[in-house]
Every structure is written in structure tokens, then in C-alpha cells.
């Protein structure tokens, strides 16, 4: 079909354009470069197969994030869960080729470490919202969760990160984790 062919080309172009962002999301989720490679590859294949399902005029990058996330959740991560395996090597995720000595990089690594230390559900919400700049509604669509869940994940993530980054002072409120 004409339309399907046109959209396949559109998807191909989009994939090529967003491949690095997809990989970055894959790495943020999996903590493994190889798994990130595999996730991107599976995402490309799935997206091409479903080219006809993409609604022209909507955000292609968000659609791709959504595919990648569901592959991660349903096919890749689940194996680890099934096998009773935790996440490993979180610390070795990123190595900036010898560039880690500038203050900017040190700060960047600190920020990434805060994010990587978050539970996965919070991490993906933080990544999509604060790194990729999606709105709450868009994050909810990508992750296929209610917007209220996005809010609670972000709030929990913020509280967690603030615990570490807020200046220690006795005057700080120590309210229990607001539900």
C-alpha cells in the first residue's frame, strides 16, 4: 500500500535521526551498553513492522520511546526478573573517555549517578520528563501509565534526590515521605 510504504520511509528516517536518543534511553533503563544496542535494534525492527500504526503528525520520537520501553519491560527486563537477577554494574555505565576531570563532567556524573540510583520506575519517569523534556501527559503516554502515577514517581524521585543533594541543616523539615 502506498500509505504504508510512505510511512515506512518516514519511520526509517525518524529512527536514524533518533537512534542516539533511543540508545541513551536503553542504557538508562538497562545499565548495559550491549542491552542498549539490542533494545535499539529491537525497537527499529518493531517500529518498521508497525509503521502503519504510527499516526502521522504525532511525535515519532515519543512513539519510539514507547516501543523501546515496552520491549524493555516485556521482553528483556522480564527475563532478569524471571531469573531472579538484579541489576548489575550500575557504576560502570558511563566512562567519558578521559574527559572526567573537568568540573562540568564531575557534576554531570554526579547527576547521572543520582538518576541511576533511582528505582527503575522513577528513573524512566525522571529521564523522560527531565532529560527528554516530555510533559507529564506525554510521559504517561510513553509509559502507558496514569498521569497520577507519573506524578507520584517524579515526586518520590525528587524527594529521594533532594535527600542527598539538599544542604544538611537541622532546620530542614523531615516530614515522612509524603505519600
Amino acid at each position: 500500500m502506498e500509505a504504508a510504504i510512505a510511512s515506512e520511509q518516514e519511520i526509517r528516517t525518524g529512527l536514524s535521526e533518533h537512534v542516539a536518543r533511543l540508545w541513551r534511553y536503553g542504557l538508562t533503563l538497562s545499565h548495559h551498553r550491549d542491552t542498549a544496542d539490542d533494545l535499539v535494534q529491537a525497537t527499529c525492527l518493531r517500529a518498521l513492522e508497525r509503521a502503519a500504526q504510527f499516526a502521522s503528525g504525532t511525535r515519532l520520537d515519543h512513539w519510539l520511546f514507547s516501543i523501546l520501553h515496552s520491549i524493555w519491560l516485556n521482553e528483556v527486563r522480564s527475563r532478569r526478573v524471571r531469573q531472579g537477577q538484579g541489576f548489575v554494574e550500575a557504576a560502570e555505565v558511563l566512562t567519558f573517555d578521559g574527559a572526567a576531570d573537568t568540573e562540568t563532567h564531575i557534576l554531570a556524573i554526579q547527576v547521572m549517578n543520582h538518576v541511576h540510583a533511582l528505582p527503575e520506575a522513577q528513573r524512566s519517569a525522571v529521564f523522560l520528563c527531565y532529560v527528554e523534556g516530555l510533559s507529564y501527559r506525554e510521559v504517561a503516554e510513553v509509559l502507558q501509565i496514569p498521569i497520577g502515577t507519573v506524578m507520584s514517581r517524579l515526586a518520590a524521585a525528587r524527594a529521594r534526590i533532594a535527600e542527598v543533594t539538599a544542604p544538611k541543616s537541622p532546620a530542614l523539615p523531615t516530614r515522612e515521605k509524603a505519600k
Binding site: L27, R33, D38, R79, Q83, Q85, R158
Partner: protein, 270 residues
Amino acid sequence: MSVKPTDEMLTAYLDGELAAADRASLEATMAGDGAAANRLRFLSHGNLAYAEAFAPMLDEAPRKKLEAMLADLSAPKARPAAEAHLASPRIGRRGLIAAAIGCLAAGVVADRAFLALRSSLFEDEDAALRQEVAEYLALYTADSLTHAPSSTAEREAQLKFAGQRLGLPLDPAAMNLGDLQMRRAQILEYDGKPLGQILYLDPAHGPVALCIVAASSGAKPITRERRGGLNLIYWSSPTHSFVMAARNPMEDLTARAEQMQAELAGRSRA
């Protein structure tokens, strides 16, 4: 009378996600509620330069490799649906190997939403299962079975348990696969259903897996295929689907599968 603002509201406020009316009302609340204002200040410490921090990661992406992979992807129509399950049949992807080691699986909490979604992903569930089996087994080596239980009693118990979960008595027929002794039997999970995995070790070709899952799609004869670098033999009884996978030559594996099929025929108590 104001309600104590939740972290969610404060976070949405900081993220500029509150509607104007909610925003105004929250600001009014905070004006008279020092604790809420303090909490807001506290949460604002979660405002970090996320986008800037993650930007260098984009340069870390193996762009060339990924672009080449994309260019290699054939037009999707030519591919059977199940191939999409996980892109490549390549063996030895370290990321997944890391995940597959320690394959002793037991009780698993399956996410219902995941199952619903997953079942909508595949038109051919059986092929998806075989793909899963092949990918999984591709990661096994003889070493994977090093710590399999050595006592016969223990292995019998595993087999009995697996048989109970599957509604298919497996003992003692499955204790041996021709001249190969069973090394381990375990229950994994596939689409919310117990998936029995019985492992044998062929000294010449490595692990041989027999996977069994309850299925009601009717009896199907033995079929052979190559998938992910492995040979697969699969068939169905009226109550179960079977997949045997290994690196053994196809003929050898077929003979073993036929023997097992005969042994297990008519055993179902489901």
C-alpha cells in the same frame, strides 16, 4: 481551609505542570504554611541539570553501528512476526548473558498488564515461545549445568514437581533422553503459565533443553527448524506444546524428540 499539599502537588508546581487555578491556590496555601514552603524548598533541591548531564551520553552511542544495523533491516513484510521478538538471533550478546546466568528461576510475580500487552504483541504465540527458548538456550554452556543437583533423588523430585505444575507426569520417562541423563528440571514462566524446562547435557554438543508448556491448540506433528543458531524440534499433544532445542545435529535431535514424544504421549492428566 487549605489542605496540606502533597509532594506530588509540590513537584508538579516546581515542574510547571499545575493549572493556573491550582497554582494560585497552592501559592496561597504556602503563604500561610511554613512547613509546606519548606517542603517545597526541600524538593527544589531535586532540580538538577539533568538534560545537560545526560547530553554527553548521546555522544557515547555507537551511532555508526546502529545506523548500519538499521540499514541492514530488511523490509518488515519479509520477516515472520516472531523474528521481531528480539531483533537479532546472534548468540553471545553479553548484556543478555549477564541476565541469563543464574538461571535458577522460581516464583515469579507476573505483571498482569505486561501479560495482556505481551499477548497482543505476537500473532504467532508458538513461534514467540520457540524464539524465547532458542534465545535462552543459546546462552547456555556446559558450565551452566555444573551445579545441577547430582543426586538422583533430588533430580527425581525436580521432575515430579515440574510434572505437577504442568499437569503432565514426567517421571521417570524424562529422566533420560536416549543416552543422556537429565541434569535439571525447573519451572520457569511464560505468559503467566508454567514453562517446564528439562535440561540434559550432551558431552559432544552441550546442553539439550526440552521445554513444555500447557497448550490447547491441538496436536501437531514434529516439525524442525533452525533458530538463533540452534536446532529446534517442536510438536504438540492435545494438552501440551513441546520444544526441544540444542546444538546437536538435526537428525540426532529428531530421533531423541521422537522417542520423547512417544514416551510422553497420552500422559496428560490435565
